[in-house]
């Protein structure tokens, strides 16, 4: 455990809306190890997404430090953050956010065009089990299929970390499981660090570590000595 990817120190994020201040994160400390699968659990509004956005360079903390390896993300410029996301981060959202005017394969290629060491787009489409559907537009794919394309797109850049915000939230049980096993494959086989937000305590079983959040704080951290595979979990 000597290879931290992210080091979060005393991070707070306060949204100010007029008179009202919302403390989305309060003095959070966290270390994310390279290659691990970290699951974040917590009720709605507890600050999960906020934390993920800070890690992914989409947002900046009000105070504290977020380091990616040796790079300080707090206080970085917009261009530096863009560069950071481009090189190191893959995002997967609850709503798949594919580009509707591009086909599945083109959506993946879009990512490979900007990454320094991209993976082969066709191979990625194959990895998520959509080898036959590459020429289809998002509107011609089901939700689960779209989410798998989104994962292929995120992974194709060969990022250091895959950040997933409720990737199964909009999917049914079976499709959800398929998507989870794709993510697990990426984590286990390619070795990409995986950080996964979920409402669903059952899913937490697949993580190496699980953190629970409440009111902007990490209230509990557990290590799974035997993480389950997606096939083994039930909800």
């Amino acid at each position: 455990m000597a290879d931290p990817l992210f080091t979060v120190r005393d991070v707070s994020r306060i949204y100010t809306m007029g008179e009202v201040e919302v403390h989305a994160l309060r003095h959070v400390d966290l270390i994310v190890q390279r290659g691990e699968c970290l699951v974040i659990l917590g009720p709605s509004g507890s600050g999960k997404s906020t934390l993920l956005h800070l890690l992914g360079g989409m947002d900046e903390p009000t105070s504290g430090s977020v380091r990616f390896r040796d790079q300080e993300l707090a206080g970085a410029t917009g261009d530096e953050l863009t560069e950071f996301r481009r090189k190191h981060v893959g995002f997967v959202f609850q709503f798949y956010n594919l580009v509707p005017s591009l086909t599945a394969i083109e959506n993946v290629e879009m990512a490979t065009e900007i990454a320094p060491h991209p993976r082969d787009a066709l191979e990625m489409i194959g990895l998520v089990g959509l080898g036959e559907r590459g020429d289809h537009f998002p509107s011609q794919l089901s939700g689960g299929e779209q989410q798998r394309v989104a994962i292929a797109r995120a992974v194709a850049k060969d990022p250091d970390v895959l950040l997933c915000d409720e990737p199964t939230g909009a999917l049914d049980y079976h499709t959800g499981k398929t998507v989870l096993s794709v993510l697990e494959t990426v984590n286990r086989e390619i070795g990409t660090t995986l950080i996964l937000i979920t409402h669903n305590a059952a899913i937490a079983g697949i993580g190496d570590r699980v953190i629970r959040m409440r009111s902007g704080r990490i209230v509990e951290m557990t290590e799974n000595t035997h993480p389950l595979s997606p096939e083994e979990i039930e909800w």
Partner: protein, 790 residues
């Protein structure tokens, strides 16, 4: 209940303020042109009518060689004639010591004592003649101002071959000379070198040996009189006094120019605003259509709360009307301001005692009403869609955008080489065809407006160029006050600095072909002469006429004459004989309507061997001014014109008046291009916010993301430029057909430079719109955009 909808309304307007302003500005362009043109039209027409009424502008002008004043009594007996005034008119030269080029005066007699006469003057300074009236003169106010002359000063005038010093008693304006133009063939007034000199009748009679005589009768008619018949009767009575054929007010030069302008204004009062308001309605239609689409949920919720469909439709109508109202207010204010300036500009060209500028509430109210109407028109479809939306339907999320492969993709070779940005661009254009078409249309319109505004300058340049290069090759032109023989030519040839000289004889004639007749000047040219060029429509030189006539194309058209036809020529001078001549062909010219013959033929018609009344000459450049001074001191010389100077004045005057038009048209073009592009891009941005946000999250830079929209705009702009230039050329053709009068024609020229300038200017507008869009993309909130479905 409606209150909370209104609150929503204001918030919405504020949220899309950029787009709302762009639409309001397009509307403002339409309304401002409407208000400007109508106010200027009413101002100019109202002023003219009042001026004519107060100073009793004549309905009929009947010039003669010389007739007793008492004939006026016979003329008054003609049915429909209310009042007749005999007067004396002579062209003279004015010698001003401070300038080298000669100035011309038109002597016009007025009663010795002030009465309410036809074609009365409007005194600006000084007073009317004294009881004596001897050697007293009232001069044109503008001329006085230009040369620093005022009552009490004196001017030297060469009249009837004698130089006399006259005392200025007053300065004045006249309804006959609102447009201070000397004769047919001129297009611009020249108040610096030309003025009217009003003298008392008794003084004029003695100067010109016109005891109890007159050489022009002016008359005012009953409103219901038949002008045609009155003119015939005038001709019948005046024929034996050397009548030059009476003409009505509509053929009076100043009146014609003024009326053409007024009619032109009236004509453009509807077309221009309609174009702008039409574009605004289209853009509104797009914007509100998009708004209803994104607000389906909200509409459904409001409906579920019990808002009536009417209240919801009204909501969108009000949104549009608010933009229409703002546009109308801006447009009216700007329009009134423009109208004021336009009227001021008119005072450069038209001389009125006062030019009435009045804020006509009717015009403004009409403008506001029309803009509200167009705004409502743009909102109708959206309002209906909103009203038709069933609550349950609105609560379901909208289906994701369905994209298809585009035609471009069939060219695999090209397609595989396009990056995904261009692929997105192509597929989006195909998907949102109507919006793309609107952008292309806006760009095309903008391009054509710019091209048209450049064309008017090009055309003027071309005209001047044409005159200088092909028509007038002389340096100086000398006009005598009466016909002379060859010795006059030799005398001029002998002057120092003269390199060559050619005689010319200009006769006033009436050409008659059946019932069609036209009073024109006919030019007798030297067979071997080279200082006056004649060209066909392909600009090939035409041989000088031998025994027959050459007519300008427009004149041939008006008289329905073609090569080989015979035409009656009524000479209006000398023994006033009638000849028959053959039309040898037509010549192409842009100014005036005239005919050409050999100087021999014309001389024979006036019963001489060789007669001439003007001379064109080439002079040593360094002695030109000296020569001009010498020439104007020759007693028989009526006028000397220096070609270079004349065209310089012409160019400057035109450039000044066109500068404003340029600016306004460019501004309009810019508003259209910017407004249309900015609006449709903003709609596209709103529709695809999530896409752009997810691209940003993937690590695309702002510039790369922006390229998806800006490249689309550049592509659409380039596509729009092609029909734009085509449309522009059509507009120019239209303009040159509309202005194909016998006074003046627009040469049709298409300059590559102007096409290039139009393209560059439109690309610049697109660039500005793109910069504004870039700003929006920079502010795109990633987290917010991706948070949830709408």
């Amino acid at each position: 209940m409606v209150r909370s909808l209104d609150k929503v309304l204001l918030r919405e307007i504020f949220r899309m303020k950029g787009q709302a302003i762009a639409i309001a500005l397009i509307i403002a362009c339409g309304i401002s042109s409407f208000v400007t043109i109508l106010i200027a039209y009413r101002g100019l027409k109202g002023t003219r009518d009042a001026y004519y009424r107060e100073n009793r502008m004549a309905d009929v002008f009947a010039p003669v060689k010389k007739a007793p004043r008492s004939i006026a009594r016979d003329l008054r007996q003609i049915e429909g004639v209310r009042q007749v005034r005999p007067r004396i008119i002579f062209d003279v030269t004015i010698d001003l010591p401070q300038i080298s080029e000669p100035c011309f005066g038109r002597v016009s007699s007025l009663p010795d004592r002030r009465e309410k006469v036809i074609n009365d003057v409007h005194l600006v300074s000084g007073r009317y003649f004294t009881d004596d009236g001897n050697r007293e003169v009232i001069i044109g106010d503008r001329f006085a101002v230009e040369h620093g002359l005022s009552p009490g000063d004196s001017v030297e005038v060469i009249m009837n071959n004698r130089k006399e010093a006259l005392r200025i008693v007053g300065t004045a304006l006249s309804p006959e000379f609102v447009y201070m133009i000397r004769g047919a063939g001129d297009i611009l007034p020249d108040p610096v070198h030309f003025t009217v000199l009003w003298m008392s009748t008794s003084f004029a009679e003695s100067v010109f040996d016109f005891e109890d005589s007159a050489n022009e009768f002016v008359a005012v008619l009953d409103p219901e009189a038949r002008v045609r018949d009155v003119l015939d009767n005038f001709d019948r009575i005046l024929d034996r006094f050397g009548g030059f054929v009476a003409y009505g007010r509509k053929d009076q030069l100043s009146h014609r120019f003024l009326s053409d302008e007024i009619e032109g204004l009236k004509g453009s009062a509807t077309v221009t605003p309609a174009i702008f308001l039409g574009v605004a309605a289209f853009v509104l239609h797009m914007l509100l259509g998009r708004l209803v689409r994104t607000q389906r949920t909200r509409i459904a919720v409001f409906r579920a709360f019990g808002y009536t469909t009417r209240a919801i439709s009204m909501h969108y109508l009000k949104l549009a009307m608010l933009m229409g109202l703002v546009g109308a207010i801006i447009g009216s204010v700007v329009g009134l301001w423009f109208a004021r300036h336009m009227l001021e500009m008119y005072t450069e060209f038209y001389q009125f005692p006062i030019l009435r500028f009045s804020v006509d509430p009717l015009v403004v109210a009409t403008g506001v009403l029309v803009s509200l109407l167009f705004a409502a028109l743009g909102a109708v479809a959206a309002a209906r869609k909103a009203a038709r939306l069933r609550p349950a339907e609105g609560l379901r999320p909208e289906a994701p955008g369905v994209f298809r492969r585009t035609a471009v993709e069939r060219w695999r070779w090209l397609w595989t080489r396009l990056g995904f940005v261009w692929r997105m661009v192509f597929r989006n254009i195909v998907r949102t065809r109507r919006r793309a078409a609107l952008t292309i249309g806006g760009v095309a319109l903008s391009t054509s407006i710019i091209f048209l505004s450049l064309f008017s300058g090009d055309s003027m340049d071309e005209l001047l160029d044409y005159e200088a290069r092909y028509v007038d090759h002389h340096d100086l032109k000398v006009t005598f006050n009466s016909e002379r023989g060859l010795p006059a030519l030799y005398e001029i040839c002998a002057l120092p600095g003269v390199r060559s000289a050619e005689p010319e004889l200009v006769l006033g004639v009436k050409l008659v072909n059946g019932y069609r007749a036209k009073r024109i000047g006919i030019f007798g040219l030297d067979q071997e002469g080279v200082l006056r060029g004649l060209l066909d429509k392909d600009r090939g030189p035409i041989e000088k006429p031998v025994s027959g006539l050459l007519l300008t194309r427009k004149l041939a058209e008006l008289l329905h004459l073609a090569r080989g036809d015979e035409v009656e020529v009524h000479v209006l001078e000398g023994r006033r004989q009638v000849f028959t001549a053959t039309v040898e062909g037509t010549v192409d010219e842009y100014l005036g309507a005239s005919a050409y013959a050999s100087i021999k033929t014309l001389s024979r018609w006036v019963g001489e061997e060789t007669a001439l009344n003007s001379v064109r000459l080439l002079a040593n450049p360094e002695r030109r001014n000296e020569l001009a001074t010498e020439l104007k001191n020759l007693p028989a010389v009526e006028g000397v014109s220096i070609r270079e100077q004349a065209s310089k004045v012409f160019r400057e005057t035109l450039a000044a008046s066109m500068a404003i038009m340029y600016t306004v048209l460019m501004l309009f073009a810019g508003v259209i291009a910017f407004g249309v592009i900015y609006n449709s891009t903003r709609i596209a941005l709103a529709e695809r916010e999530r896409t752009f946000a997810s691209m940003r999250v993937l690590g695309f830079t702002r510039k790369e993301v922006g390229a998806v929209l800006t490249n689309e705009n550049y592509l659409l702009t380039i596509i729009g430029l092609v029909p734009g230039i085509g449309l522009g050329i059509l507009f120019c053709f239209w303009l040159s057909t509309v202005y194909d009068t016998d006074l003046f024609r627009f040469p049709m020229v298409i300059r590559v430079e102007s096409i290039l300038i139009s393209i560059v200017v439109v690309l610049f507008f697109t660039l500005v719109a793109n910069l504004a869009i870039r700003r929006r993309i920079r502010r795109l909130d990633l987290v917010e955009a991706l948070k949830s479905r709408e």
